[in-house]
Amino acid sequence: MTLGAAALAARPLASHLDPSTGSGHRLGRDSSAPNVFVFVFDAWCADHLSIHGYPRDTMPNLARFAERAFVYHNHIASGSFTVPGTASLLTGLHPWAHRAVQLTAGGVTRAHKDHNAFAAFSQNYNTMGYTQNPYADIFLYQFEKYLHTYIPESAFNLESRMLSSLPIFNNDAQMAFASIENNILRNGKGTSGSLYLGMGARLDGLSKYAKTRRAYIGEYPAGVPIASGVFLLDELVNGLGAAIREIKAPTFSYFHVYPPHEPYAPRSEFARLFEDGWTFPEKPVHPLSLTLYPREEALANRQRYDQYLAAWDAEFGRLLEEMKSSGQLETSIIVLTSDHGELFERGEIGHNSFLLSSPIVHVPLFISLPGQMERKDFYEFTSAVDVMPTLTNLVGLEAPAWADGRLLPGLGGEEDPNRSVFSLDAKTASSFAAFKQYSISITRQRHRLIRYQYSNYEGFEFYNLDDDPEELKNLFPSNPSLAADMKGELDQTVADFNRPYEKKN
């Protein structure tokens, strides 16, 4: 599959038409400036990488890339699922500021709709956005006036199930997407607005998936990868490679791909890997666990996830070779990270969870600079909100005043053990009001405090991450002074972000 110019410009965007917003790229850009590539691998947990101490060698090509990159060993996502995680990555804002916290959120709050990476880059760079995840695509729609090139989320899929991408909706694509895919005929979790056709469409989709799965059973014995539509790992990378080949410097590109998000679908040559008998430390089922999966199932899914990581790594290796041969690898800023991690413990599998245990927020971050030949490791905690301001700083743009993040260590910033890093899950909270039910964590001084605030469960967990990286021993009941101090900071943070909404009530 090749990606032609037509696919790259499949949907004309406002920026092409409005000279006041995005046409700076026609005014003459510094073509010697480096391209910036941000690759987001969805649901990619740092705990599963040998470079961070995992016993299975899941991603050897990544390890090769890391030898010429800045490696952030303790990088924390701001949310535990795509909507808040992606919003924080793209805006440099904490979830309580951008307020994209619900599973079906319509995007970031209007106050921040112009505060995003594409806006920051668009005056001096061409901007390109692609995501396979429809929930992340919401943000590309919302920020479209700063996007010079948008690649539809189904561009590299075997099929498109998106009605809103039909030509009839060309004049009103964003509203059609928000209405049809996000409400009327939902394909993922949650109910469709359409009482009968919604179910019919879902059954039709599942039936088609079953057929495709049978067709590719030899190549993908555990099932074919599927996001909003079925795709093949090699076709996805071929598509990305074609898109990258067409990029003209300087371009800021955001590529958010679905692997290793579930369903975990390794190719056949990886589907027997890691049958090593290795088991993960047993952890008690959490009171907030939604699914109460037995340990055996968690172990089996963990192994499948690791196999999928290995399969994706092989394709990623091909992409690296492609970028190397086109010269992009040596001359560009390349960022690899994720919107959130993945859980296989405490009764949970995946990331549809209220928990904020380490694996769901501990995500990889690798940044490679043009001409970089050696690896640099950083072990202090960093946040997803740091990525965007760091990138603007790297290319000499003014740091966005709105961003909550700071410059990453080694790239303009310093390692700071006293820095507080936050993650928040408030998927059941009202966007209008103060957050009453949420999970929030604060990490600093090598310790982590998690607060769970729900009507059916309230509790604090406090872990020493040096002595207890698996978060097995909750130190909060023994009331250490650092826990009290961090609880004070957490309480103050919650009070601060809730205050404007409590005044309104």
């Binding site: 319509g106 009839i168 998936y209």
Partner: protein
Amino acid sequence: MSTILEFFKKSLPEKKEVTLALAGLAFLVFGWELRSLFYNFPAFALSYSVGEIFAIAAYMMSAALLETAIVMSFALFMAVILPRKLFAEGFSYKAFFLFVGLAAISIHLQFVMNNQPKIAFLTRELVIGLAIWILLSLLTHFVPLVKKIILDILDRLTIFSYIYIPLGALSLLVVTFRLLW
């Protein structure tokens, strides 16, 4: 041609029965669509303008109108092809029970099924739905009080179709304009 028309005229349920069934169907379809709209409203309000929220509402109401028309056509088709006594007679409550049953199955499936369709599971749902439909239809047919209550409910739901159907038509017009211009 006249024979076909004559056949349809004979086979179709009475107008009054169709109106009552339509009222029940519109109530279910538009009600569920509105529930979805209001459920997502807080998120929309954060990131969309008032005009855009109205546009989304227009899309949803248009979809509800089209869905009502499609499902109603399906029910009328069933009435035509099935023996008259089985479906066309007492069409209002029999069709309404069918709509409620299918809606219950649809909602249940959307909550529990997020993987591959399991034929046995779907069959079980349909068999249970069919059994309940037969039971309710027989109950309504043979117990006058139940029949009166059901028909009274459908009669009162008619008022909603006077709101929903024009709302759907207006929304369809809005969406058509948005797509064309």
